[in-house]
Symmetry: C2
Subunit: 223 residues, 2 copies
DNA sequence: GTCAAGATAATCGTATACAATCTTGAGGTT
DNA sequence: AACCTCAAGATTGTATACGATTATCTTGAC
């Protein structure tokens, strides 16, 4: 059985990633302990893990708060993720074997089906699988882990992406270029295609963000 | 003042990174608590942080052990680090300003001085600064953090590098190419030069490792 | 002699209590 | 009115105790 602290971590992570807790929200140890019917010990343990993952921040004797990412930091993270995923694609183009390639193409077709039927949630889901299979095909387990971690962390910001007009169709076309490059065994093309694919998300998102809060640091008002 | 758990974490991290604790060694909560004159609570907290950093592993009811990295995993980590540092160099070539470039060149000259006088420890130290200034020049704080973290984690393995014959001189020449590319504002050249520079370390090290333990997983004997 | 089942011991996960530290706000002083 | 002082309250960090889980050793049967 999983220990309670880990359950708690997963639960809190989920709640943060789905924006049920918003950036800036305070996570009080005592309240959480009471809320989940446990003592502070496992709560603290869970919080430490989330701090290590960068999801929350801890200000001594002030409280722990859901990290405020800010457009700048967010853009930086997308930039890094683009490079990591590009590296996965490059390696995949170089090292992929038949069965892994087949797996990628299978996910690719699943994306296509979801895109054509306008199933946004389905596309989101299949898209995850698509990317993870490419990461796996790279054959670098450490890289895969790093990329997946960043991916997870950016989850709440990517999800909105797909609601942008025509984004799903565009995303699928980008996937197509990636798959073609991997199939052709062209590492540079695969890397470039993947980098663009991910970088576009970052740009689109910061565009969106910029239009919502033009003043950068100025939104501080909350409770 | 820093809390005791953090002191402990730093202390243990230090002892692991300097190989005073070796891979496979067991870290017993109770012994550590007794040894440092604290209770198990802060010890556990410190251990959790090290687990999150990947330095140690936790097997329930078995104990916590210093991570055994293994040649494969090590090579993977070098591969990723090469890419991250290459990205830093690429960004640096694109975005660097006069003062940051001057800082890089200053570190570069310091490396040169250490190399010529055969001061290996000095070279190691200046080399750290050189790389960090390039990371800083990239202007992506998140990337800088990620790269620095990996760098730290690979520290014990890089240090041996410099004892390889002519490695210092070769390393300096590689630095030279990197600086030239950054100064020229050539992102691709900077990235390529940096990637090679770091990748070589990985290759050299795994060469070394392979010559020491030819049988991969076979060394299990210890106390 | 080997293997399995139970007993034993070690370790872990959690709860609770206490101490130390910081924040906050009221009240007084300049 | 602004600033400083200080006490009250809150929150965190640490210690200790206990129950639960699991590894390991013992014992006995085959």
């Amino acid at each position: 059985m999983e220990k309670r602290a880990d359950q708690l971590r997963d639960r809190l992570e989920e709640e943060i990633l789905t924006s049920r807790y918003r950036p800036g929200d305070r996570l009080d140890e005592q309240s959480l302990a009471a809320q989940f019917g446990v003592s502070r010990t496992p709560v603290r343990e869970a919080l430490f893990q989330l701090v290590a993952a960068g999801l929350i921040e801890h200000r001594p004797h002030r409280g722990t708060f859901v990290s405020e990412v800010g457009p700048r930091h967010l853009m930086e993270m997308f930039e890094v993720m683009a490079e990591l995923e590009a590296m996965c694609a490059r390696l995949a183009a170089r090292r992929v074997d038949a069965s892994r390639l087949a797996a990628i193409e299978e996910s690719h077709r699943a994306c296509e089906a979801a895109a054509e039927s306008g199933d946004m949630d389905g596309y989101y889901y299949e898209n995850e699988a698509f990317h993870d299979r490419i990461r796996a095909a790279g054959g670098n387990a450490f890289l895969r882990e790093q990329a997946a971690q960043l991916h997870k962390r950016l989850k709440p910001y990517r999800r909105l992406q797909l609601r942008v007009r025509n984004r799903v169709a565009a995303s699928f076309r980008e996937h197509d270029a990636i798959v073609a490059a991997i199939r052709a065994g062209d590492p540079d093309a695969a890397a470039a295609a993947m980098r663009d694919h991910v970088a576009i998300q970052g740009e689109r998102f910061t565009d969106l963000l910029a239009s919502l809060e033009p003043h950068g640091e100025s939104r501080r008002a909350r409770d």
